[in-house]
Amino acid sequence: MRTRAQQSRDAALRRLTQVNRSLTLVAVVGAGVITDVVANTASGHTRTSTTEASNTAATNKPELLVSGPSGTTTAHQSAAARRRAVAAARRRAAARRKTDAAANTAASDSSQSSSSNQSLQSSSTPSTVTPSQSSSSSSSASSTPTVVAVSGGS
């Protein structure tokens, strides 16, 4: 028969085990969360590969020179920046395809009916891009392509 003191001691020991387990769990999960947070922030540095370095040197534009949070000017491209660059490149490619399709349609229409001299409505999306836009995605983050609006028709 256990005494009341023994019961309270055993309960406290169980509590200690639970607290220690929770502490370990919180520390590990917290480390994971912070790792995720710092991976998505723009601070830090990246390992610039030789290919990227040569591309960067060719365009004479550092990949991303940003003053880091601790005043560190580092060439870094965080995961978020990479994702944004890829998404922007995809959007530009989609817009380019859309514009090309519209221009082809307009050209065929104008050839069929020469009297209708309609001009294509230029949308808000860029119509034509310079070849620099179709360069590799590694330099897409820093490249600012010249956008030339094309008015279709004859």
């Binding site: 309270s8 001691r9 406290a12 509590r15 200690l16 607290v19 220690n20 502490l23 370990t24 520390a27 917290g30 480390a31 994971g32 912070i34 790792t35 995720d36 947070v37 710092v38 991976a39 998505n40 922030t41 601070s43 830090g44 540095h45 990246t46 390992r47 610039t48 590969s49 030789t50 370095a53 960067t56 040197a57 534009k61 550092p62 990949e63 020179l65 003053s67 880091g68 949070p69 601790s70 005043g71 560190t72 000017t73 580092t74 060439a75 995961a79 978020a80």
Partner: protein, 240 residues
Amino acid sequence: MPIGAIGSSSTAFWYLTRASGVVSLLLLTLVVALGVADVARVSSPYWPRFLTDGVHRRASMLALVFLAIHIVTSVLDTYAPISLLDAFIPFHSAYRPLWLGLGAAAFDLLLAVLVTSLLRSRIGARNWRLIHWMAYACWPLAVIHGLGTGSDVRRGWMLALDVICVAVVLGAVWARVRMAEYPTTAARATAAGLSAAFVLGLAIWLPGGPLAAGWAGRAGTPVKLISSLHSGSPARTGSR
């Protein structure tokens, strides 16, 4: 970025270094606060004193584990030229020697506290207590190390965590002085003076230091590393 993808990233060590450093600081803060609560004999029927002691020990072990991760990933991450020796010998590193050295000193102190705690029965309670007091010096060194070398110092969440850590430890120290059985005026004056000096020092140093532009160069980052990054070419101090 999914956690699973981090493992395949070349910057995984860098992310882990930063995260483990932050978690270590938080755990060290918890260790100091629990140690103070333990000495102050804080207890209740629901929370006996040995629970505080047990959590204090577990948090210390966890802090050491995360410190080990912090050091190993710092060494493996070849962006900054940090060797394993730099983690043990203060002010030896070529990369931000002062601020990294403070971290190394804090780590050495923590190791001393750990070893003497394991050998407590052999060295005696009095000697153990004298060395254990160094934990109070270890924590501010770790805080300043994080502020001096941390990449996330300017982030709002990191600043908030730093403020919370400082507030928790200062509150614990002040409670310790107040709850002491025979608090002498000298002890109170010392605690108040050191606390005020630490906070005032941070308030003066931070705006012109880590929070100001160009801190990397002034902190002692090798010129070669900075110039190679400015030119856009890969920094080959190591492979980055």
